[in-house]
C-alpha cells in the first residue's frame, strides 16, 4: 500500500483547476511536471517527470536503469517486470507517482536477492534464452515465483505462473527447466 503522506497529493488537480469558472474537456489538461520520490534497489531518488509517466519510463528514461525492458507497454509481455515490495508487477501498468513509499527492485539490483545466483546459473546451464530481450523480465518474474509465491510444485504450475512473461524466441521449455533447477538449488542452499 502506498504511503498517503507523500508530497504527490498536493499535485492532484481537480478538472479545471487553474482554469476558474470552467471544466476543461478531457485531454486538455497541461502536463503537470511532478517530482516523485522513488526507492529503487535500496537507493532513494528524486525523479522529475509527468503525472502520466509510467514507472517503466521513469526507470528507463529518468534513472537510466535500462535493464527493465519495454516490450508491449500494455501488460501483456512481462518484459517490464519489476518487484514492488517483493511482489512482481508490470512496471508499464503503473504510474511513477503511484509508487512513492514502496521498495522497487529491478534487474540491476538483483544481486541483493539471495536466490538470484541459483537462477542465473540455471538460466546459463539450461540455455534458457536466445535473443535475451525478455530475460530480465523472466528473471524478475521467476525470482518472485520462487521467493514470494512458492508456485513451483510441477512444470505445469511453473508454466501457469510464468504465463505473464512472453518469449518470442520460444525458449519456454528451457526456462521452465531452469526454474525447476534453481528451485532445487535454492532449497539446497537453504535460502
Amino acid at each position: 500500500m502506498a504511503a498517503r503522506d507523500g508530497a504527490i497529493s498536493l499535485l492532484g488537480l481537480a478538472p479545471g483547476a487553474g482554469a476558474p469558472g470552467g471544466q476543461k474537456p478531457a485531454g486538455d489538461v497541461k502536463a503537470e511536471p511532478v517530482t516523485v520520490n522513488l526507492t529503487v534497489n535500496g537507493t532513494a531518488y528524486r525523479v522529475s517527470c509527468d503525472a502520466t509517466t509510467t514507472l517503466l519510463d521513469a526507470l528507463r528514461d529518468r534513472l537510466h536503469l535500462t535493464g527493465t525492458k519495454k516490450g508491449c507497454d500494455r501488460g501483456e509481455c512481462g518484459a517490464c517486470t519489476v518487484h514492488v515490495n517483493g511482489r512482481r508487477v508490470n512496471s508499464c501498468l503503473t504510474l511513477a507517482v503511484m509508487n512513492e513509499g514502496v521498495e522497487i527492485s529491478t534487474i540491476e539490483g538483483v544481486d541483493l536477492n539471495p536466490a538470484y545466483r541459483c537462477l542465473l546459473d540455471a538460466f546459463v546451464e539450461r540455455d534458457a534464452l536466445q535473443c535475451g530481450f525478455c530475460t530480465p523480465g523472466q528473471i524478475m518474474s521467476a525470482l518472485a515465483l520462487i521467493v514470494d509465491e512458492e508456485r513451483f510444485s510441477s512444470p505445469e504450475e511453473i508454466r501457469e505462473f510464468m504465463s505473464g512473461n512472453l518469449c518470442r524466441c520460444a525458449a519456454y521449455p528451457n526456462i521452465v527447466d531452469a526454474i525447476r533447477d534453481s528451485v532445487a538449488g535454492v532449497r539446497g542452499a537453504d535460502v
Partner: protein, 323 residues
C-alpha cells in the same frame, strides 16, 4: 498516454467526492484504466488513486465473507479461509490475468474492467460503446469472442470478468458508495445489457465506487466449480466459462446456480438450465439435458456459432466438477 492529473484519495469520502466531478476516473491497480486511456477508449482529465482510501480487508465470519474492493486479486486468491470455503472464487481469480497483473489489479477494478472487444480497444475503429452512434463493426466483422445473449444491434461486446461470473453463482452482493449514500446490489444488478445505450456497461452512476463484495455462506458455495475455455491455456479471456454451484439433499439437486462468462455483457444466468435441474438427481444424464438448456434464448453470429456447442459442454463439465 493522454495527459491527466493525479491525486490520491485520503479516504472513501474524499474518493467519491472527487469521483463525482466530470472528467475524473478512478485508478487502483491501474492494469485496465491505463490501457483504456492509451487506447482512447476512455478519456479522463484527472485520475483519483483509491489505494490509500481504505484498508484492503478480508473478513470471514458465520454469515459469509466481506472482501474489500481494494484488495488485489492475489490477496483474495491467497486468502486461506476464502480458498477453503469458497474454492470457486480462488479458481475464478487464478484463471484470469497473469501473476503480475493479479498482484496489481483490485477486486473493484476487476468488476469494473471494460470489454476486450477489439473494436472498442482500437483507437481507429468506430464503436458505439466508446462513441455512441459511430457504429458497431463487430457484427459484420470479427466477433469470435462476442456475445450470444442479450446483445443489441448497437453492441455485441462481452464482459471479461471471471470474478463476476463466479459471484453470480455465489449470490454475491456489491456495496456501492457515492457522495450521498451507500447501497447494496446483487452482482447481476450492477451490469446491464447494451440496449440503446451501449456506452453504459453498468447501472452505476458518476462517482459511484464499489467498496466491498459480500459472499454469503450458503449450501451452494460448498459444492461449486469454475470451468473456463479459452484459446490458450493461460493469461487469456474466456470464450465460454461456467460457474456452477450445487446443493444436493436426499439424492436430489435442491438448488443450483449456473452462470456463464464470455457470452454476454454481464454474467449470464442460465435460468432454464437451472430450472430443469432443480429436483432432479445429479447424474450424467440430467447434467447433459441441463447443459442443452444452457443455450435457451441464445442468438449466435456466424463467427461465434461454435459457442452454441461449447456452452452445453462447459455447463456439463462444471456441474460434474461441482458435484
Amino acid at each position: 498516454v493522454p495527459t491527466f492529473s493525479y491525486a490520491r484519495a485520503v479516504d472513501v469520502e474524499d474518493a467519491v467526492r472527487r469521483g463525482s466531478r466530470p472528467g475524473v476516473a478512478y485508478i487502483a491497480g491501474g492494469t485496465d484504466i491505463l490501457n483504456l486511456l492509451r487506447d482512447e477508449a476512455v478519456t479522463a482529465s484527472s485520475l483519483v488513486d483509491l489505494r490509500s482510501a481504505a484498508p484492503a480487508r478480508i473478513a470471514v465470519n458465520g454469515a459469509g465473507a466481506t472482501i474489500s474492493a481494494f484488495a488485489t486479486m492475489r490477496e483474495v486468491a491467497d486468502h486461506p479461509a476464502l480458498g477453503e470455503q469458497w474454492p470457486m472464487l480462488r479458481a475464478a481469480l487464478l484463471s484470469g490475468a497473469s501473476a503480475q497483473v493479479r498482484n496489481m489489479a483490485t477486486i473493484g477494478g476487476n468488476l469494473m474492467q471494460r470489454t476486450r472487444c477489439w473494436y472498442f480497444r482500437d483507437p481507429g475503429s468506430p464503436c458505439n460503446k466508446k462513441r455512441p452512434g459511430s457504429g458497431c463493426p463487430a457484427r459484420e466483422g470479427e466477433h469470435r469472442w462476442h456475445s450470444v445473449f442479450g446483445a443489441s444491434e448497437h453492441c455485441v461486446a462481452v464482459h471479461p470478468s471471471d470474478l463476476a461470473v463466479a459471484l453470480a453463482a455465489l449470490d454475491g452482493r456489491i456495496t456501492v458508495r457515492n457522495a450521498v449514500a451507500e447501497r447494496t446490489l446483487g452482482i447481476e444488478e450492477i451490469y446491464r445489457t447494451p440496449g440503446d445505450e451501449p456506452e453504459r456497461d453498468t447501472t452505476l452512476g458518476p462517482g459511484d465506487l464499489i467498496v466491498d463484495v459480500f459472499v454469503p455462506r450458503t449450501a451452494l458455495a460448498a459444492s461449486s466449480s469454475y470451468v473456463k475455455v479459452r484459446d490458450r491455456a493461460s493469461f487469456e479471456f474466456a470464450l465460454v466459462s461456467c460457474a456452477a454451484a450445487l446443493s444436493i439433499a436426499d439424492g436430489q439437486v435442491s438448488d443450483v446456480r449456473i452462470a456463464l462468462g464470455g457470452v454476454a455483457a454481464l454474467p449470464w444466468r442460465a435460468r432454464a438450465a437451472e430450472d430443469y435441474l432443480r429436483g432432479r438427481r445429479p447424474t450424467a444424464e440430467s447434467f447433459t439435458a441441463c447443459g442443452a438448456r444452457g443455450t435457451d434464448g441464445a442468438q449466435a453470429l456466424p463467427g461465434n456459432r461454435f459457442k452454441m456447442d461449447l456452452i452445453p459442454a462447459v455447463i456439463m463439465r462444471a456441474l460434474e466438477r461441482a458435484k
